[in-house]
Amino acid sequence: MEFDFAAEQPKFLMLLYGLIAFVAVVGGLLLLLDVVPTWFARRREAQLVAAAAGGGPVPRRRKQREGLFAFFFLLPTLLFLAIGLVVPAIRTTLLSFMDARSTDWVGLDNYGWMFAEDSIFRVLINTLIWVLLVPLVASAFGLIYAVLVDKARFESAAKSLIFLPMAISFVGAAIIWRFIYAFRGDGQEQIGLLNQIVVSLGGEPKQWLLDSPLNTFLLIVIMVWIQAGFAMVVLSAAIKAIPADIIEAARLDGTTPWQMFWRITMPSIRPALIVVVVTISIATLKVFDIVRTATNGNYDTNVIATEMYNQAFRYGENGQGSALAVFLFVLVLPLVIYQIRNLRKQREG
């Protein structure tokens, strides 16, 4: 296919406008952040100089103004949080107790529907499988890899290999893996890596994404592929942060590598490990792109986030979609609370 630059011009213009707008907004903010405090600092400096020259008392910094100043900078954030988070959250919760057109109250009907409908129950089960497996497998992979490559030759090269998938969007990753799982009939040239391997070993090509529950596990592999790099980088940094004297002391006491791992490394990196597991858990609960791109929730692979989108935006079932959203929110909430408490404890400790 030929690429006609002229025909695609509107898109490039759009891209250019986007870039310009980005530079304008970010540049403007930076300018504001730079100019305003500088102005105040200069003024204060001038006051100090004047006071020093006049021999009068040094003017005291007024507390009130500082508070105002902080409020001024917090205002946009507060405003955006209210518009983008608080109001929609309240509205979604209200909608979840209303019917499809959001006109009449239906009580808990939408929540009852969620557990009564077989296909939706399947969605909940799938999400459970995801959230149990992904954090566990991804963290385990990341941890093992981090320990293995620690202080090895080519450590940074080995690490970037695992970290690279992090740079790929979920949709991109799902498309890549769809090709890996791709199927062509027996006797034809396979375009999918996995089937080609199977065929070269003398097997028959298989439609990987078609059979439940195998397909859910194959989709989970995609998520693990992306997230393992994240786990590895954080955990590797934590391992490097273990004080050298502890390790040296342990060595002097003659610990085996096995003991070293369980008695020294694991307890030392525990806080980092918790952060990794919780972060990946939250990302997994919200997984949407991978399922939508790879199977669109067909063949019993649906998860809460994709079903929520389908119900609310495709089928016009606002109530049911909102109920799923609220349910997802409730599932994520304890993880977030746990994470925050943990962070606070760490800071106090």
Binding site: I20, A21, A24, E117, F183, D186, N310
Partner: protein
């Protein structure tokens, strides 16, 4: 110091960007109709008087097709001074309700699903079409078509483009080589399939994978067969839930479709077994025909655009289509199809002028001449349709014997027609039995 300078540089860039952005916004095009009184504009006289007004249109039509649209109403714009601002979106069905509910509705939307149109009527957002538009539509379109944009006796907009779905694609070249002839009855179709199967080639190929719309080609199959086994009256009751989704007549139709789609001897030519239909993309579904690995592919007229580059689509070419034959010719010539409707969220005079113009024969001919377009507009002159498949389609749509029915999944509530029906068909291809699938879909229709 270096740090401070780099910050300054950033700030300068920011200001520069802002200035550029403003400059770019300033260069809008101010259109004026200075040729409104020229002779070419005589046909547009009745739409004049709205000079300088703007009408926004939102649709699912993008890229080349969108450029062709802009080209098709260019003269109308020049002569009336109405500026039509068309925006196409790949997420049209999901975004339109968001825009409408958000108070940002377009003036006009090309809605391909009568079910979605009805949803907007029910929520009171759609404006009924004006008297001129209605008169123009009644003049140019058959009642079969108009009933799909009529809700509770109120008319909401004329059809625009159409497509014919009752087509079977084949290769005239291969047919000639092998001495096969184009079947004109259902029995001949099955006989031909058996003959091809006996020769060692799987006769049929299909693909229903279509991203987030996976399953729709299979729903078309079912609808087309139901129209043939049970007839249009039963079909109408089925799409409006006058009979349950799992009515015995529907079970019969689905099983009849299954004698082809779930027949390991018949499918899936060029791809594998029955289950490969589920993962083969709609775009690729018929391509084995060009490689001689499959002989028949039931798909709509718009499949003409999916053939590999260099494929000649014509009666004497590499590929062409024939009418999916009726089972009982006494029940007429059932045709399944689709199309979009020009519905308006505003009733300003210039919006109604555009609506009326789009329903006119002038527009249909203007658009058809640019190519790759079919309409059920009766004023459409066959000579203005350049493409052979489109010509065939227009011929079928204008045929007196044709009993036209709109794609059923577009008539049902979206939760069924674009949800459980699609997903149910995927499960059906993937091995679930007919009754279970139909019962599940019926259960989801509230």
């Amino acid at each position: 110091m270096a740090f401070a300078r780099s910050r300054q540089a950033l700030a300068v860039t920011g200001v520069l960007g802002l200035a550029l952005g403003v400059a770019a916004c300033g260069t809008g095009n101010d259109k004026k109709s200075d040729n409104a009184s020229s002779p070419e504009c005589a046909a547009y006289e009745k739409y004049q008087g709205h000079d300088g007004k703007k009408v926004s249109i939102y649709s699912s039509i993008r890229d080349i097709e969108a450029d062709r649209l802009d080209q098709s109403w260019k003269q109308f714009e020049d002569c009336t001074g109405i500026d039509i601002d068309h925006e196409g979106s790949g997420e049209f069905e999901a975004q339109l309700p968001v825009r409408v509910d958000g108070g940002n509705a377009p003036d006009i939307a090309f809605i391909p699903q009568p079910g979605l149109l009805k949803r907007f009527v029910d929520s009171g957002k759609l404006k009924p079409a004006g008297a001129d538009t209605k008169a123009m539509a009644e003049q140019n379109y058959s009642p079969d078509w108009l009933k799909y944009s009529t809700v509770n006796g109120q008319f909401y907009g004329a059809p625009l483009g159409s497509n014919v779905k009752s087509f079977v694609w084949y290769s005239p070249k291969t047919f000639k080589e092998k001495g096969w002839s184009v079947p004109t009855t259902w029995q001949e179709l099955i006989d031909l399939s058996d003959k091809i199967a006996a020769s060692g080639t799987k006769p049929w190929c299909a693909g229903i994978e279509s991203g987030d719309a996976t399953g729709w080609p299979a729903t078309d199959w079912i609808e087309d067969v139901l129209l043939r086994t049970a007839g249009p009256e039963v079909y109408d009751k089925w799409t409006t839930h006058g009979i349950p989704f799992n009515d015995p007549q529907v079970v019969t139709a689905v099983n009849q479709a299954g004698t082809i789609l779930k027949n390991e001897k018949y499918v899936n030519g060029g791809f594998g077994g029955v289950k490969s239909i589920a993962t083969t993309s709609f775009q690729e579904g018929g391509t084995p025909i060009t490689a001689g690995k499959c002989a028949l592919h039931r798909q709509a007229s718009f499949y003409a655009n999916q053939w590999p580059e260099g494929t000649k689509v014509a009666e004497d070419g590499d590929v062409f289509a024939f009418y999916f034959p009726a089972i009982d010719p006494a029940k007429g010539k059932p045709v399944l199809g689709g199309g979009e409707f020009v519905a308006a969220f505003a009733d300003r005079p210039e919006v109604q002028a555009v609506q009326t113009y789009l329903a006119s024969g002038e527009y249909a001919n203007s658009r058809a001449k640019i190519g790759d377009w079919v309409s059920a507009n009766k004023k459409l002159d066959l000579n203005n349709v350049p493409n052979p498949v489109d010509k065939l389609s227009v011929g079928i749509l204008q045929d007196e014997k044709t009993v036209f029915r709109f794609d059923g999944s577009d008539l049902m509530p979206a939760a069924v027609g674009a949800g459980t029906f699609w997903k149910g068909m995927v499960a059906w291809i993937n091995g679930k039995d007919t009754t279970t699938v139909l019962n599940d879909i019926e259960g989801s229709w509230k």
